[in-house]
Symmetry: C2
Subunit: 154 residues, 2 copies
């Protein structure tokens, strides 16, 4: 069997893209991960149309990636802010993978705009492939093994 | 300074999304990474309209993520196949991050459809955050530090 013999949609990548496979959605997740939580702040920082932002946030809430939490400032009506759920926090690995690639391939002459560092020691952080037996794994040293959840193409 | 004080577009995530921030594009990269290289095979496996596929491939070629290589089968005219460049190979970390999240959060009762294993030992592979000083870093143990390439919002 080759990859193309397997159903394209029965794939964790395809499934994830159904939730976050859109540029605005990833930027919303990035801002939420960095503490921008209020609708007006998100709309203004991202420069996104409010109806587009509403739709993206609703999809994320529907998939339990983001939760909507009421808050109220003195003298104002109740408003909502948005926070990553535990599943949403897990998407930080996607954000970091995007960031690393952009740092490496799309930085201007001044270099990457932000560094991700270990809060404890200040050392720069990157994602390293490791296997469950503790080996460090380089690109090209992996292969895919079909599991019971795999489906062949129709 | 907070995150929202920095320009949203001067960000390696935003820049990467200009190249790969689209569902079909990521699926094309996934198939190329798994050895599906010919236009007809990609169109058929992905179930994507041919004009959409052409546009996505052209963007990837324009950004040097994919290269177009001529081939010719006996008795046929010259055709082209598509291969990941070195920069395209680096996007495997994005694909793995998507895969891991889908495996964890969107698998059905039968579990993930594919496992990514270390070709040498067969152990399952995952991405682990490490810092340059060799510490294993957990989610939430990172922070962002602005670099000279950072820009404040207008």
């Amino acid at each position: 069997m080759e990859w193309k013999d397997y159903d394209s949609a029965t794939c964790s990548i395809a499934r994830t893209l159904e939730v976050v496979g859109d540029r605005w959605t990833v930027l919303v997740l990035r801002d939420l991960a960095n503490g921008v939580r209020r609708f007006d702040d998100l709309a203004s920082h991202l420069g996104v149309a409010r109806d587009v932002l509403t739709r993206r946030l609703n999809v994320l809430v529907d998939h339990d990636v983001v939760e909507k939490v009421p808050y109220r400032e003195q003298g104002s009506r109740t408003r909502y802010e948005y926070r990553l759920t535990a599943a949403g926090q897990d998407l930080r690995s996607v954000l970091l993978a995007f960031r690393e690639w952009g740092d490496q391939h799309l930085s201007g002459p001044e270099g990457p705009p932000m560094a991700t560092v270990h809060a404890d020691c200040g050392g720069k952080v990157h994602a390293q492939l490791v296997c469950e037996r503790g080996h460090t794994v380089e690109r090209g040293e992996t292969r895919l093994v079909p599991q019971p959840g795999a489906r062949l193409s129709a």
